[in-house]
Symmetry: D2
Subunit: 166 residues, 4 copies
C-alpha cells in the first residue's frame, strides 16, 4: 500500500494549555505522537503545514492547503483541521478529483482524557483505505461526503445536511 500523507493545519485537536497565560493555543501536531505509539502497519508521513484555530483560517490558507494537496506525491491524504470551518475547507478541496482526501479533527483537545481525537483519526484512516476518490469529512463516527455535511454547533456534532442519522 502506498504511503498516506497526513497534513496538519491546526484546530482544537492540537490545542494546548499554557499556565502562565492561562490560554489554550494551537500546539504542534498531536497526531505524530499518537500514531507513533500505535505500532501501525501502514506507512505514512506527517507534514505540519499550518497551526491555526479554524476560525482564523483565511482564503489564502485554503489556497495553500489546496496547492499542497495537489502537489503531494500521495493520492491518499488525511488532513487534521479545526472543526468550525472544516466543512468550508472540505468543499473547497472537493474540486480535486484524482485523490482521496479525508478531513478530521476533534471536538476536545487530544490532550484531554475524554478527547475524541484518537477515535476520529482511526475512523479517518480506516475510511481512507476504502472510499472512492473525492473529499470527505470523518467526524462523530461517520464518513460524510464534502457536499453533504454541516456542523451542528449546538449539539457539537457533524451531521448530514438534512439532519443527524439521515
Amino acid at each position: 500500500m502506498e504511503k498516506i500523507s497526513i497534513i496538519t493545519v491546526g484546530g482544537t485537536i492540537d490545542k494546548i494549555y499554557f499556565d502562565a497565560k492561562s490560554e489554550y493555543e494551537v500546539g504542534p501536531p498531536n497526531i505524530e505522537k499518537v500514531l507513533g505509539e500505535l505500532n501501525l502497519s501502514i506507512r505514512y508521513r506527517v507534514m505540519p503545514l499550518l497551526r491555526k484555530d479554524s476560525l482564523d483560517m483565511t482564503d489564502e490558507d485554503r489556497s495553500l492547503i489546496y496547492e499542497t494537496v495537489e502537489k503531494d506525491p500521495s493520492d491518499k491524504i488525511l488532513i487534521t483541521h479545526g472543526t468550525d470551518t472544516m466543512v468550508k475547507t472540505a468543499r473547497y478541496l472537493n474540486n480535486i478529483n484524482n485523490k482521496t482526501i479525508i478531513l478530521t479533527g476533534a471536538l476536545e483537545p487530544a490532550l484531554f482524557k475524554t478527547s475524541d481525537a484518537l477515535f476520529n483519526i482511526g475512523c479517518a484512516l480506516g475510511a481512507l483505505q476504502a472510499v472512492e476518490k473525492g473529499c470527505y469529512i470523518a467526524m462523530n463516527g461517520k464518513i460524510f461526503p464534502a457536499d453533504n455535511v454541516k456542523k451542528n454547533v449546538k449539539e457539537s456534532r457533524f451531521e448530514n445536511l438534512k439532519g443527524n442519522l439521515s
Copy 2:
C-alpha cells in the same frame, strides 16, 4: 444509513482486573461505554454474544458467531474479538458473501491508558462504511482482507501474509 450491528465476543479489549484475585478476566463489552461517550452520528446496536479469551474459543463458538452474523438484520457488522484467533474467525466468516463484516479488538485492554481500543474501533467503523462486501480485519491502522492477514505475535502486530508494509 442503516443501523450497524456490533457483536462482542470477548478478548483482550474487554479484560478487567480483579484485585481480590490478583488476576484479569474478560468483562462486559467496553465498546458500549466507549461509543456512548462519543456522541456519534451513526446508528448502531451492541449485541454481547460471548465473553471469551480468544485462545479459549471453540469451533462451536465460531459456528455461533457465523449463524448470528447470517441472521442479523443489518448487512454491516462489526465484531470485537480477541486477537490470538481473530484471523481464524475472520477466515471462517469469509464464506458469508452478502454482508460487510469487520473484526477488530485490542492488543492492550481498553481500560489501559495506552490502549489501542478506541483507535481500532474508529478504524473499523470508518472502513465499515466504505469497503465492499466481504470479511476484513481492522488492526494496527490497516484494513486487511480476511485471506491476507496474520498476527505477528513477536511484534504484537497484524500484517499481510507477506509481511508488514507490503
Copy 3:
C-alpha cells in the same frame, strides 16, 4: 476522624474547554468527581465557593475565603485554588491559628491526561491528617509553610523562598 472540609475557589484545576467558543473557562469543581471515584476511607464534604481564574481573584474574594474558613465547623480544611495567586491567599489565611489549612491546585487542568491534579489532591489530603495547625501549600510533591513558598513561574513549579530543593 472528623470530617474534612474541601472548599473550591476555581483555578486551572477546574478549567474546561468549550468547543463552540474555542476557549476555556473555569468549570464546576473537579475534586468531587475525582474523590467520588476513589472509594475513600475519610469523611469529607465539598463546598464550591468561587469559580475564578486566580489572576481575577480580588481582596473581597480573599476575605470571603477567610470568613468561610473561620466559620467552617471542621478544623481541617483543604482549598483548591488557582496557582498564580495561591501564595497570596495562603499568606492571608496564615493568620488563622486554630485550624489546619492546606491549599492545592494544578498546573494542568484535571481533565488533561497528564494533569498533576490527582497527585496534588492526594498529597494535600495526606498532609492534612498529619501537619500541625497552620496554613500550608501542597504542590509539586512538597508541603510548604505559607510563609516559605513562592511560585517559580518560569519553571512552572512551587519552591521554597530560597529556591528549589532547599
Copy 4:
C-alpha cells in the same frame, strides 16, 4: 529537606499485561516514571528491591525489606507494596522506631485509566513529610498507623480495625 527513599517490592500497582500470555505480571516499578513526569520539588531516590505479587511474599522477603529500611541512609521511607499482605509487612516494620515509614500501593494497576496509584503515592508523600516517626499505611485517602489497619477485601478498601470511618 533530606532525600526520601522509595523502595519498591511489587504488587498490583506494578502489574502489567502481556498479550502473548494473556496474563498480568509484576513489571518494573511504575513510580519512577510517574514521579519523573511531575516536576517535583522534593528530592528522592527509587530503589527497586523486589517484584512480587503480595500473596507470594515470604518471611524472607519481609526480613530483606526490614534490613533494607534499617540500613537506608534516609529516615523517611516510602514503600510501594501489594495490598493483600501490606498490613502484615507494616506490622513487621513497626518495630523500627527511628524512621518514618509509609507503605502504599494500588487497588488497580497504575497503567489503568482509573488507577488509584497516583493519588495514593501523593497521599503517602504528603504524609511522609509530616507524621511522627513510626510505620503507617496510606491507602484510600487515609493515613493509618500500622497497628490500626486492615484490608476489607470485600469492599476493596483499607479501614481501621473497628471499621471504616471510625
